[in-house]
């Protein structure tokens, strides 16, 4: 027996991890230097969530995937040109800041309100996917709040694997300390899954999927509503990059034995 899921993936864009980042004061708090000029990518954990969602939908005919994203729509459009080639999904956009300094509650509120506006979404079939962390704020808090706002109390974070049974029950492996997993079973949707890396490799580009996606997603980008993130009293006293330059001693003319001996002495303290 098949299971139909309505999978909503929450995911935004972040600066390319290889970029050097520095903060500066903006009109409403800290921002990144040259923020709009920095190349952006889909947040890595949101990407894993999206690929897992597409895989789950493919295995369960009748299922649908939406990618709900809060970010500047001009930057989103650039990133989605690449992401759209990876997996089929319907993009839903809230046009606003994807800054890591935005309040996690305000972000969750916008995402939840945006989900409420998805036509045809059956919340009894809802699986709310997203990254358990992000490469921006890194709070690991947004998905839980979106879930609570949606009235979904069966939640899982640091998920690496889910297995759906014929009866719709979902077995979940969540990361815990020390490289271990917590295993549990929820009796079915609705549920929240904050993904770690999952087990799927990044899908190869498929231009055909990309064309199909962008036919739907370009209108979604054009119709994106401005997001209001101004409701927080969060105020920053400072944001700084720590200056930790070390005086590196280069050992290059010593023998293997000498280097090994020095390392062992250092290890033994």
């Amino acid at each position: 027996m098949g299971n139909e899921f309505h999978i909503v993936v929450c995911g935004s864009i972040v600066p390319d991890p290889l970029q050097t980042l520095a903060p500066q004061d903006g009109p409403n708090g800290p921002i990144l230097q040259n923020e709009m000029m920095l190349p952006a990518v889909l947040d890595p954990w949101a990407g894993h969530a999206l690929y897992e969602a597409a895989d789950l939908a493919a295995k369960n005919p009748g299922s649908q995937v939406w990618l709900v994203s809060l970010g500047p729509k001009a930057k989103l459009q650039q990133v989605m040109m690449a992401v759209s080639q990876k997996a089929p999904f319907q993009l839903v956009v809230a046009d606003g800041s994807s800054s890591g300094f935005e309040d996690s509650y305000e972000t969750a509120k916008v995402l939840s309100d945006t989900i409420d506006g998805i036509a045809g979404l059956d919340k009894s079939k809802l699986l709310l996917f997203g990254g358990w962390q992000s490469a921006s704020r890194g709070s690991g808090a947004v998905m839980q709040m979106v879930g609570e706002m949606q009235g979904v109390s069966e939640q899982f974070q640091g998920v690496d694997k889910i297995t759906v049974g014929d009866d719709g029950a979902i077995e979940v492996l969540e990361r815990v300390e020390g490289g271990s997993y917590q295993k549990s079973v929820v009796d079915g949707a609705p549920a929240v899954m904050g993904w770690a890396t999952g087990e799927l490799p990044e899908p190869p580009n498929n231009p055909q999927i990309g064309m199909q996606n962008m036919q739907k997603n370009m209108p979604a980008l054009q119709q994106a509503k401005p997001a209001d993130l101004s409701g927080s009293s969060l105020s920053f006293a400072s944001v700084e990059v720590p200056q930790q330059r070390r005086e590196t001693r280069i050992v290059k003319d010593a023998s293997v034995d000498e280097m090994a001996q020095e390392i062992v002495e250092w290890i033994k303290g």
Partner: protein, 336 residues
């Protein structure tokens, strides 16, 4: 006003070190703000844990029972909600364990408050709480406050001294409603002690890079030799093992793989940022992502064939320019 320190017990009924550290921070916050300290404990049986911190001077509340031994979101948030409401907490301070990192952000919604997680510091300035945390994955640290209450806060490990002060605690039992929970726990999947390679409490972190699986001077790859060398080092030192992203991603690219490495070993921008006293990097190269992964490693040494490596220069204390295969083989011999 009440500051609530909230913690769950471990499987053996004790409190984790990070919980004791968080209690120190919560108590200092309450003292600094002139607030009452409440202690909320969750677990199958919290009596021993409560007694172990009885001297903190707080008023104790607890949700107990077999259902609270496992760390399900739905049961943990119900317990936390019941305790927070029982003591009318305006600030909730909890350890950022995997269990509470999972559950407590949702508590803010249930209480009508706000949450800030993974704090690296918590102080009182002019009578107001001021929190510190990292943004953009340990790239930059911010100091901030907010007016919304209740304010739920989780504190990362290593940010305060562990509280010590046993006694006899008088604990008020609190009931939580878990009648609607649809998830059942199925236990833990743990690697054996001999096979465990991720050890958060280890003295040393060994980081492996993609060089271990590249062609060596003889034109061949030597993955079996690399695995043996890495495992012998881990066995001898009981170090924790980390990996660069490029190495754990090699499996998806069809390259030779270190069989025991998974994405859970990954450190850096898109992986973990572990805390260890010493770190030894082998066959790694790179720049910003490595800075993030090594943010909380105190003493850093690296073995690398490139003396001009952008990661090593200015970011590690000693760079050994040489063949990691040869050097680690000798290190293992010396370690016995």
């Amino acid at each position: 006003m009440t500051v609530l320190f909230l913690a769950h017990t471990e499987c053996d009924g004790t409190l984790a070190k990070v919980s004791l550290e968080t209690l120190t921070a919560a108590k200092a916050l309450a003292d600094g703000m002139g607030a009452e300290l409440a202690v909320g404990l969750v677990g199958a049986d919290v009596a021993a844990a409560a007694d172990s911190i009885a001297a903190c001077g707080g008023t104790f509340f607890a949700v107990t029972g077999p259902a609270y031994n496992e760390g399900l979101y739905s049961t943990d948030i119900a317990a936390a909600e019941a305790i927070a409401k029982a003591c009318s907490a305006e600030i909730v301070v909890a350890p950022a364990t995997s269990r509470y990192s999972r559950a407590l952000p949702g508590l803010a919604i249930r209480l009508g408050g706000r949450v800030d997680t993974h704090l690296s510091g918590l102080n009182v300035v002019d009578g107001k709480p001021v929190a510190k945390r990292w943004f953009y994955r340990q790239r930059m640290e911010g100091s901030f406050t907010r007016d919304e209450r209740p304010w739920v806060l989780t504190l990362d490990a290593g940010c305060a001294g562990a509280f010590s002060g046993a006694g006899s605690a008088d604990v008020t039992a609190v009931d939580a409603d878990i009648s609607g929970v649809r998830t059942r726990p199925e236990g833990m999947i743990c690697v054996s002690e001999d096979e465990q390679t991720i050890r958060p409490d280890a003295e040393i972190l060994l980081v492996t890079g993609a060089g271990w699986t590249k062609k060596q001077a003889d034109g061949e790859v030597h993955v079996a030799e690399a695995e043996d060398s890495i495992l012998r080092f881990l066995s001898a030192t009981k170090s924790s093992l980390g990996s660069s992203k490029s190495l754990v991603d090699i499996s998806g690219e069809g390259g030779a793989v270190i069989s025991f490495l998974t994405h859970m070993h990954q450190v850096g921008q898109t992986g973990a940022t572990p805390r260890h006293a010493k770190g030894l990097s082998t066959c790694c190269h790179g720049e910003e992502p490595h800075v993030v992964g090594w943010r909380f490693i105190n003493e850093r040494r690296a073995i690398n064939t490139d003396a001009g490596c952008g990661w090593a220069q200015g970011k590690c204390d000693v760079l050994y320019v040489g063949d990691a295969f040869a050097i680690m083989k000798k290190v293992n011999e010396l370690l016995g």
